[in-house]
């Protein structure tokens, strides 16, 4: 271990970008070969799309599992990976990737965490989940000073006339948490129905009834003010009338979207925003950088979780050679190998 600035540099066998189902299963396959993994994901939880988009929806096409929900699949993959002690670095995006003189890679995240490893695996699905931004002209000028898509520090909102937009858990949770700090808080939502947990909705309704919080049913149509300071937000109400609501802070929750992000500029061969790989080891145009799962393309590719699992298993065979160039890899089965039983902690 070394240090870059104040940050500890983590040295490992494999850095996996993306902690979705395919990234998690890679931990298992790599673990059987004795390779240690660190995973980076921009979400604040593991599971990728399974956990973020459809945790409660059933999946029917996982071999030997006739039906399970997205979250159950993730929970089971976590259990399967557990013997191999994967380390997770969540809430941060893989930002910079360079090759070191010794042939290994150095990956830096948006939080400044540095990894050095002989193998990098891109299992990033459809990209990182990032907040969806207001598609309004001039919105950029307010961002970070009076327009926000996430809460980094609650203090930012102290004493301000705050509008929170949205009807899901993020919007309701933050409205409830921030209203004691803000000078005034108005919740703006398209309909008088909320996707958030019923308990939060009830608390919000009580605050609205007592006058501690305001609720406006409508959609944001414009931002007013001299960038970077917002002075009012234009809202089209249910009757179609546009009203101007004074505010000097806006916290907008319009869900998350997926975007390729910084890895698009790492010089990997791309085709229609997908990474091109060969199908023997799922290696990219850059030796030592592998890519698996929904983010890749090759003739016949199907975007199925099971395809990603297969790609992970094959990829690890070649990854082993980069990690242990002088060792010979013996192919073994988990049913019969005492060596694998030891690694799995069942021996």
């Amino acid at each position: 271990m070394g240090e870059v600035g104040a940050r500890l540099v983590i040295e490992t066998d494999m850095v996996i970008i993306g902690a979705g189902p395919v990234g998690l299963f890679t931990v298992f396959e790599a673990g059987l070969l004795g390779l240690r993994c660190h995973l980076v994901d921009n979400l604040d939880k593991v599971g990728g799309q399974c956990a973020e988009l459809y945790p409660e929806k059933p999946i029917y096409d996982i071999p030997a599992i006739p039906s399970c929900t997205g979250q159950e699949l993730v929970d089971n993959l976590m259990r399967q990976a557990e013997p191999f002690g994967p380390q997770f670095h969540l809430g941060q995006q893989a930002e910079k990737l360079v090759r070191l003189e010794d042939g290994r890679f150095e990956l830096t995240t948006s939080e400044g965490q540095v990894f050095r490893a002989p193998v990098v695996v891109v299992a990033a699905g459809a990209g990182s989940f990032v907040p969806r931004k207001l598609p309004l002209p001039g919105a950029d000028a307010f961002e970070g000073t009076s327009l926000f898509y996430a809460v980094r520090r609650m203090e930012t909102f102290r004493g301000r006339d705050l509008i929170v937009a949205g009807g899901g858990d993020s919007a309701l949770d933050w409205a409830l948490n921030l209203h004691p700090l803000a000078k005034s808080l108005t919740l703006v939502h398209r309909r008088d129905e909320f996707r958030a947990a019923p308990d939060s909705v009830q608390k919000m309704r009580e605050l609205v009834a007592s006058g501690a919080m305001k609720l406006v049913i409508g959609q944001i149509t414009g931002l007013e003010g001299e960038g970077p300071m917002l002075s009012a937000v234009a809202i089209k109400d249910a009757a179609g009338e546009v009203v101007s609501l004074p505010a000097n802070a806006l916290l907008a929750f319009y869900g998350l979207k997926m975007e390729l992000g910084p890895l698009a500029s790492w010089g990997l061969g791309l085709e229609r925003n997908l990474i091109k790989v060969e199908t023997e080891a799922f290696e990219t145009s850059e030796p030592g950088i592998f890519a698996i799962g929904d983010i890749i393309t090759y003739p016949g590719k199907l975007k199925l979780i099971l395809s990603g699992f297969h790609e992970a298993a094959l990829m690890c065979q070649k990854a082993f050679k980069y990690c242990h160039p002088d060792e010979k890899l013996v192919f073994r089965y988990t049913t019969s190998s005492t060596d694998l039983h030891k690694k799995l902690g069942v021996a």
Binding site: L53, L134, P135, G167, G168, R190, K257, M258, K303
Partner: protein
């Protein structure tokens, strides 16, 4: 074959073959028009948002509550807004006209 007329974000009309039994999103995606449909059609995002021509709004089955919930995450939602993955196309909808909602 039944037709669907899709107006893209530049205002150009596209006449697509409407495969009965497919979702409207699948028809639009198959024609390579720019529709993100990030979740693949399980009503878990709002990136297949379209506006249905006024003459057709009432001819479609009304949205279920999970579609309305997901529309909350879209922008510039109107009374004629739908998530196209939740609109099942049938021959009875021959001539259906929709416009792709702005991307964001």
């Amino acid at each position: 074959m039944a037709k669907v007329i899709v107006t893209d974000r530049e205002g150009a009309d596209h006449e697509l073959n409407g495969q009965s039994g497919w979702s409207l999103m699948e028809i639009i995606r198959e024609a390579n028009l720019p529709i993100e449909a990030a979740c693949g059609g399980c009503c878990a995002c709002a990136t297949c948002h379209v506006y249905v021509d006024a003459a057709w709004v009432d001819k479609l089955a009304a949205p279920e509550s999970d579609e309305s919930m997901m529309l909350d995450e879209a922008f510039q939602v109107q009374d004629n807004s739908r998530l196209s993955c939740q609109v099942k196309f049938t021959d009875a909808l021959d001539g259906l006209k929709v416009t792709l909602a702005p991307e964001f």
